[in-house]
Subunit: 414 residues, 2 copies
Amino acid sequence: MDKKRVIIVGGGFGGLTAAKKLKSNNLELIVIDKTNHHLFQPLLYQVASAALSPGDIAVPIRGILSNKNNVDIILSEVLSVNKTDSYVQLKDRQIKFDYLILAPGSSHSYFGNTDWEKFAPGLKTLNDALTIRENILRSFEEAEIIEDKSAKNDYLTFVIVGGGPTGVELAGSIAEIAKKTMLKNFRHIKPEEAKVILVEAGPGVLPSYSEKLSEIAKKDLEAMGVKVLVNTRITNVKSGFVETGSGIIKSKNIIWAAGNAASPLLKTLDVELDRAGRVIVESDLSLKGSPNIFVIGDAAHATDKNGSLLPGIAPVAIQQGGYIASLINKEVKGKARKPFVYFDKGTMATIGKAKAVAKIGRMEFSQFIAWFLWSFVHIFFLITFRNRFRVMGEWMMYYFTGRRGVRLITKHPE
Amino acid sequence: MDKKRVIIVGGGFGGLTAAKKLKSNNLELIVIDKTNHHLFQPLLYQVASAALSPGDIAVPIRGILSNKNNVDIILSEVLSVNKTDSYVQLKDRQIKFDYLILAPGSSHSYFGNTDWEKFAPGLKTLNDALTIRENILRSFEEAEIIEDKSAKNDYLTFVIVGGGPTGVELAGSIAEIAKKTMLKNFRHIKPEEAKVILVEAGPGVLPSYSEKLSEIAKKDLEAMGVKVLVNTRITNVKSGFVETGSGIIKSKNIIWAAGNAASPLLKTLDVELDRAGRVIVESDLSLKGSPNIFVIGDAAHATDKNGSLLPGIAPVAIQQGGYIASLINKEVKGKARKPFVYFDKGTMATIGKAKAVAKIGRMEFSQFIAWFLWSFVHIFFLITFRNRFRVMGEWMMYYFTGRRGVRLITKHPE
């Protein structure tokens, strides 16, 4: 009997979990990713804010799957999917599949204003994080030597667009670096000159949390020196400033954390997508009319038992990846499918040192306890022992010394 | 009394040592560097070979000098020096000095063939190291999926030009990664398909060591699977191959470790330079005719008491930086100068796991003992506790598991 071939597109949380749990002795497994590494995305903002190294939160996919039989890993991009003939199209070849698991993730959405991207980079890849890190560090260097007050001000103003978890975590962590860590290293910058502004279109930050936690998060940010502008919509982004309904904010550091758009690959599937470009999947996460093609993670529009959209977070992707692996493992032995059920273990977001918010079931936490939970969970879920050791080391060092580890500018300015 | 202003150009071993040891309470100190970090260059090849992260061996100069008074740090490039009016010229301004310490380092020399650089990058900066790392990792990815035997061969051939310490350390460490670490992660590459070739124009590798140690280093490399070509001069480098007197070697990974050229800044001094572009300095390391301008590190052509040229290694730069600091500290109090004397504490080069060579005075070491010395000295001299902790962690992990920590491709291919 020929082995069934499963292709997994994307080595993020969903794709990697599926790859690990598929019984590859009875299958032929191919993992295709644009990068060579699995990225622990929840800590990516710490690379952008110079707290961690890329190597602390990224691990080669080959390394993770090296002990598995019958796994091929391909560093390449899938350009399209052919449903009728069951193959994926790469740049230079086609690969047929029996099962296809699409976990391509998402990128930033500028709501149609694609020209904003070059003035307000987003944070999805290691390269994005390094670009933002360089920008921040270089701005301090410029501000240190510049004489003109207004120009100096522009370099020391940091605007983060979007008050979801990424925006909040970035704003908190940039406030720490800008108002504390960096300053004793500069002679011509005063703490009050550095401004961190978080702009959110809705009525509060962290909209997926309760009003109470959202309010706590806002207060925590403000206590750290972040100016939080709610109910404020960005109407334009240009080099050096953003325009809002209530005026212009000048800044050399604008970071985009506002919207997600699912991978453009999904458009080639010729199925119904939601407004964010996600595939509206069946109860078994498969494509309507193509039971052998699955979409998981933040590329999928899946709902829980109450009909609410599942959020684009790691636990959802991990559970979906595990579910599909088990479904395929069983189906090749002739067993029937059951629908996917999400088990909500809680969510959390960190704001700064000893400040975070968390909800677990009906319980809500904030301050030190939430932050401690957050630290524990994130170290626990890091892929390898090596990463755990390094990240814990960095965090302890930072907690006690207040120094950021990785304040490096490696690229040359354009 | 006005404070004397000392400008230090370059935050490498020499410049940083001078900055640390100058008594800045009585002086005004300005450190100018093109990058924001001090780089522990002896371990740079380990970043290129994916063993260490950039953040493990680089520390922000501001951080190192943050506890010192009257130090200004400027991220900028010095374009020229005006000896008559005692100022340095930056892109957008001039800064006057009473004393000038030039420690700008060196870059690669292609012996006039500047067009070779794009096909055979050298290893001087963090950016260089990341470029080489990406190249190596991407080559394995290409080799894994390519069908054509000859093209696959090109990706799996690594040519290192130059058999000095950098060349030897790179060759050894690429052999380890190519013939051991990586292979269990790939399904379509066999150990014998990976070829590492070290090309040296002279009769042996490590020409600054004894013939005995040079021979041991060559044997060690060969035992690790490196093909060592001595008496072989490179006559041409193009995309995808090098030409030698005895034929063409095809390779997608050509790394240049053959020659050094001192910083072009030195040409603006209008003094005698040696063939490598180094300033021929006086016995107090000052410029002939300009006793307030000093050149140190591998930008200086200084000699020991026997008249031999001092090598371009960290201990020389460190001692010279310390010497100048003490000279200036004393001279501002009216004391006379004494000439610089180099104290040779020994040199060492590593070849691979538990393989190295070292000479200390008349004693020579090789194998495990030299490697142990090397590891100890390098960890001991790393700038901060944080770096020591991280590097030691990585090395222990590698020693026991054989895994390389930082096998990341972050940039997109051009």
